[in-house]
């Protein structure tokens, strides 16, 4: 009896995930500002979340949080998958395991493992879970029911002591991964992985340069979908595709538009935004704003920082990776906030932004904590901030639309 019930529930979950993913995907093109083709990336997302396929069926190691070093996984011959969930259905499923008030990303991440409906997420050798926030720490234990977990600590402060501890932690992670995969980490393997992933990083940097430019020929929603697809692709192949896209962007002409006034330029800051949770970028851009960059760790921040080793010994690269993943990370989980302010100020100056949308996922405490200080900072720098608290569901779509519309209008009048 209960088996039948579970099977039915899974079917229902499946239908909802497919529906949500499909509708989110169909919206992406509505934000287009030129005929540029991003169908490769859309196609990847579609195949995973609508087609429910796993074409390659290769061995993978998953990771939650942008602070997990995927180079290690890649070097050992496994495909790194970024598993942070952003689907409302998964959040709902996750509520059977995690408290209602906890962060939707954590709930959805747990939810996806418990629903077990995405073939791409099968065949996971293990998952790496950095303890970047309390939600992630608690999620680790829950996830261990479904998949082998490798929790790694993230230290509160980014000072020298914290850094040296992290280097040790990364060595420990390598040992664990070697044990799980039965393969040996060598300097040349790691270097190859670093080079390959740095190709992706460089192309992502260029893509964002196109987005930040005055006459952007790609929309922010499109860029964020491209970045989202990175989570589920082979980094090398993804880099090659983004390279093609960047080449196309250099040539493509913007669609003609009847708009006279300049679009308000907006930075999306705050909690992560990943596919299919695109209602904010989608609404902003269909309501006449232009997203110039974002600080989402699932998009703009994901590949921003390069790996810069002093030398290519294993030690040199492990240190460089520890530096790359944590030292410049603007995550509010650290006790220092300054890095984030500097980043925002720099982005604001580079992009000539008119306003900031501060996205808070309901239940994501660290980002909400910083809002107050961000507001003070913004006042000092004369840039308006709108706080938007939401989750992955589409229920607040209409009120959200009204608020964003008013904000955009306000920016236009300034």
């Amino acid at each position: 009896m209960s088996e039948i019930y579970e099977e039915r529930q899974r079917e229902r979950y499946k239908r909802n995930v497919v529906k949500m993913a499909g509708s989110s995907l169909s919206q992406i093109d509505e934000t287009a500002v030129s005929p540029v083709d991003i169908s490769y990336f859309i196609g990847r997302l579609e195949s995973i979340f609508v087609g429910l396929e796993d074409k390659e069926n290769n061995a993978k190691i998953g990771m939650y949080c942008a602070m997990a070093p995927e180079e290690f996984v890649y070097a050992l011959g496994f495909t790194p998958l970024k598993l942070c969930g952003n689907h409302p259905t998964a959040t709902l499923a996750g509520e059977d395991h995690a408290p209602r008030d906890s962060c939707p990303v954590v709930k959805a991440s747990v939810g996806f493992q418990s629903m077990n409906i995405i073939p791409m997420f099968d065949n996971l050798k293990a998952v790496i879970i950095p303890g970047s926030c309390d939600g992630k720490k608690k999620a680790a234990e829950i996830l261990s029911q479904y998949v082998p977990i490798i929790p790694i600590p993230i230290y509160m402060s980014k000072d020298d002591d914290g850094f040296e501890l992290l280097v040790e932690t990364y060595y420990g992670l390598i040992a664990t991964l070697e044990h799980i995969t039965g393969r040996k980490m060598t300097a040349s393997r790691l270097k190859k992985a670093c080079v390959e992933i740095s190709r992706a990083s460089k192309e992502a940097y260029k893509l964002y340069e196109y987005l930040k430019s005055d006459k952007a020929v790609i929309s922010g929603t499109q860029v964020m979908s491209v970045m989202s697809s990175y989570a589920y692709d082979d980094p090398g192949r993804w880099a090659t595709e983004v390279k093609k896209l960047n080449k196309a962007l250099a040539k493509v002409q913007p669609n003609s538009s009847k708009r006279k006034r300049k679009k308000p330029r907006i930075i999306i800051a705050g909690s992560p935004i990943g596919f299919p949770h695109f209602k904010i970028p989608y609404l902003l851009e269909t309501l006449g704003a232009q997203i110039v960059t974002d600080e989402s760790c699932l998009a703009g921040r994901l590949l921003y920082d390069p790996v810069l080793p002093d030398n290519y010994s294993l030690d040199g690269m492990v240190r460089a990776l520890a530096a790359r993943y944590v030292a410049p990370c603007t995550c509010p989980t650290f006790i220092e906030m300054e890095d984030r302010f500097c980043r925002l100020e720099q982005e604001k100056d580079i992009t000539n932004a008119d306003g900031i949308i501060y996205h808070v996922l309901r239940g994501c405490i660290p980002y909400d904590f910083e809002l107050l200080y961000i507001e003070k900072w913004a006042e000092k720098h004369g840039i308006p901030v709108l706080r938007v608290e939401t989750d992955f569901s589409t229920e607040d779509y209409e009120p959200l639309k009204i608020r964003l519309e008013a904000f955009i209008e306000m920016l236009e009048r300034r």
Binding site: K202, P306, L308, D310, N311, Y312, S313, L314, G316, C342
Partner: protein
């Protein structure tokens, strides 16, 4: 990833040329240039060296004071002072043959992909103490040439017997060994460098930082041979030319943020950090 170009190639070329000149120059020129004393370690005991460093002039004052070499020695000291007042420690990065030897050793280590030896956080402060003890010993000239590690490295390289003081040889071997695993470890306690470094705060060579452009990515600290923490940490101050800085420019070259770090010589912008796009 990072490809080193421009300034690094120039710096290695400068170091090599000056290494050859400072070790074998007198062989080509017939005699040494003796009215210049350099703020680097170019051993004065070697007859084949092109130009001597200041060390022996300071260590063995009695040898020239009121002697026939009084005038050239005084001019030499004057040139030395002028050079360090104008350029601080700039010569360490581009001229010093002992600096070159240390860097060569650690570049072999890097090629062999052996791990580096990082000085533990707790031990670091002692280096400063040792450095100033070295300076005092150096200025007082107590037996310096007998124990000088430079001598036991440079003289054999110049094709000479260097003497056989056991402690001296032991120290030289120790320092070379350490320099293999930690780039320029001797420079951290070098008395000439320490003296020249005093003028880093006012010299014509400036390392500048634009704090807001810095992401605290730590890349600069990881490559800095002198492990100058401020270059990474500081955001408020714009001038980050620390006493220890040897102007190797590694920090500027590796920094991935546009205009975050830059080098100014005589108020002219020479080098600016930028994102490497390919």
């Amino acid at each position: 990833m990072m490809k080193r170009k421009g300034i690094t190639i120039f710096r290695w070329a400068a170091l090599m040329v000056s290494f050859i000149f400072l070790l074998y120059g007198a062989n080509f020129m017939g005699s040494k240039i003796n009215w210049v004393k350099l703020p680097v370690f170019s051993c004065a005991l070697s007859p084949s060296g092109g130009v001597d460093s200041i060390c022996k002039t300071i260590v063995d004052v009695e040898e020239w004071f009121l002697g026939i070499n009084m005038i050239p020695s005084l001019i030499g000291i004057g040139v030395f002072l002028l050079l360090i007042i104008l350029f601080g420690r700039l010569f360490c990065g581009y001229v010093c043959p002992f600096g070159f030897v240390q860097e060569l050793l650690s570049s072999v280590r890097k090629k062999l992909r052996l791990p580096s030896f990082k000085i533990p956080l707790k031990v670091k402060p002692y280096f400063t103490t040792v450095k100033w003890i070295m300076v005092i010993g150096f200025l007082l000239g107590i037996g310096y040439c007998d124990l000088c590690p430079v001598r036991y490295v440079m003289l054999p390289l110049a094709g000479m017997v260097s003497g056989s003081d056991f402690i001296g040889i032991f120290l030289a071997a120790l320092i070379l060994g350490l320099a293999f695993f930690n780039e320029r470890i001797f420079c951290r306690i070098c008395p000439i460098g320490a003296l020249a470094g005093i003028f880093n705060s006012r010299s014509l060579a400036r390392i500048k930082k634009k704090g807001v452009a810095c992401t605290h990515c730590r890349a600069c600290l990881e490559v800095c041979p002198m492990e100058i923490k401020e270059i990474y940490e500081e955001r408020e101050k714009t001038d980050l030319t620390k006493q220890e800085c040897i102007y190797c420019m590694k920090c500027i070259e590796i920094c991935p943020e546009e205009t975050a770090l830059s080098f100014e010589l005589c108020k002219k912008n020479i080098l600016v950090s930028k994102r490497h796009r390919r």
